[in-house]
């Protein structure tokens, strides 16, 4: 077996669970929730890459010298990625509202049948 840390394992499992929901579920809202879970998993993975054992948050006051802080870059990246995830979800939800108004159902197979 390969040796990876439990944090990587947890984040990758979240990504797989989210991907499963997107691929297999038929309800549009469930697919969007799966997408959201997947994005959360990716953010966790990004932060875990930056962790350095035994060090604390990169706020340099009160005894935290540059030699005792974790990597600030992945945290900055995740800040941006979370906002992008929120924007995608907001957009997707409004398209789901339009879909419901036009087809009166949220099931992808029903929509395909109705469109003919």
């Amino acid at each position: 077996m390969i040796h990876i840390s439990v944090y990587y394992f947890g984040a990758i499992s979240l990504i797989l669970i989210g991907l499963y929901a997107v691929l297999v579920k038929k309800n549009v809202l469930k697919m969007l929730i799966g997408l959201s879970i997947m994005e959360t998993g990716v953010n966790l993975l990004l932060i875990s890459v930056g962790y350095i054992s035994g060090r604390s948050a990169p706020i340099l006051s009160e005894g935290v010298t540059p030699g005792r802080a974790v990597d600030p870059i992945p945290q900055a990246l995740v800040l941006t990625a979370i906002v992008i995830g929120v924007a995608t979800t907001a957009m997707a939800l409004s398209v789901a509202i339009i879909l419901y108004e036009k087809y009166n159902t949220l099931n992808v197979e029903e929509m395909r049948r109705l469109r003919g």
């Binding site: 394992f9 350095i52 990169p58 990597d71 600030p72 941006t80 979370i82 924007a87 995608t88 939800l93």
Partner: protein
């Protein structure tokens, strides 16, 4: 039967992908010091930007261009929701008025929530947080108002105009940097005017980080409230 086949196929594919990705991450050891650019940031952040919070310095100052893009993404989301859910005449369709606890609580808490949100984004260079959580807190205050009172609406026109003006001011801050220092998004407050160099660790420092975070906090607050407003309304059929 078909659905069972599809599910097992999906599970097998996912396990293969997971194993492949996990193998790659076995090559990136967890918890080891592998910083290259990060170390430079940690060593120089206090002198070069005036902020003690390295993450916000990276977000606003060193990689400020990314934050400009991020603000744009949120603006696109708000505009897109407004464009897709546009109706000729809209009104709120909630039918249940909030309970007495919700109404009283909201009435008293709303100003404190706004102040707390403002506190978060003004102190972005000293404590964790910054513009985005601050703005989200402000929007939560407005969401509470929506949930408690069924006739409440934010004033649209002024929120939209505020959104536009505040976005413009971010780009204008960058352009002033271009004019004063010769580079787009140059931190002219810290590097040219040297405001607050004696004040590290206190409020009046950090170059243009508090200015930009105030801009972002207001922007995010108005945008998220606009999205909530668009989603809670339906068409008025005449």
């Amino acid at each position: 039967m078909v659905s069972l086949l599809k599910r097992s196929l999906a599970i097998i594919t996912l396990l293969i992908i997971g194993y492949w990705v996990a193998q790659a991450f076995a090559g990136v050891p967890f918890g080891q010091d592998k910083m290259l650019v990060g170390k430079y940031y940690l060593e120089n952040v206090v002198n070069q930007t005036g902020s003690v919070n390295a993450v916000t310095a990276v977000v606003v100052n060193y990689r400020g261009f990314d934050t400009l893009g991020e603000v744009t993404v949120l603006f696109i989301a708000s505009t897109g929701v407004g464009a897709l859910l546009w109706r000729r005449k809209k009104e709120r369709t909630a039918r249940t008025e909030g309970s007495i606890v919700l109404k009283t609580g909201t009435r008293y808490l709303f100003p404190f929530i706004l102040v707390f949100g403002a506190y978060i984004f003004i102190h972005g260079h000293l404590t964790p947080g910054g513009g985005f959580p601050g703005g989200a807190t402000i929007a939560t205050g407005f969401l509470l108002l929506y949930m408690a009172f069924i006739v409440y609406e934010i004033p649209h026109k002024s929120f939209e105009v505020t959104e536009g003006l505040v976005g413009m001011s971010y780009v204008i801050v960058g352009l002033i940097g271009l004019a004063i220092g010769g580079y787009f998004l140059y931190d002219w407050i810290w590097q040219t005017w040297h405001v607050g160099t004696t004040n590290i660790g206190r409020l009046l420092s950090g170059g243009f980080i508090p200015v930009i975070y105030t801009i972002i906090g207001l922007k995010v607050g108005t945008e998220l409230s606009g999205i909530i407003d668009n989603m809670l309304k339906e068409e008025v059929r005449e």
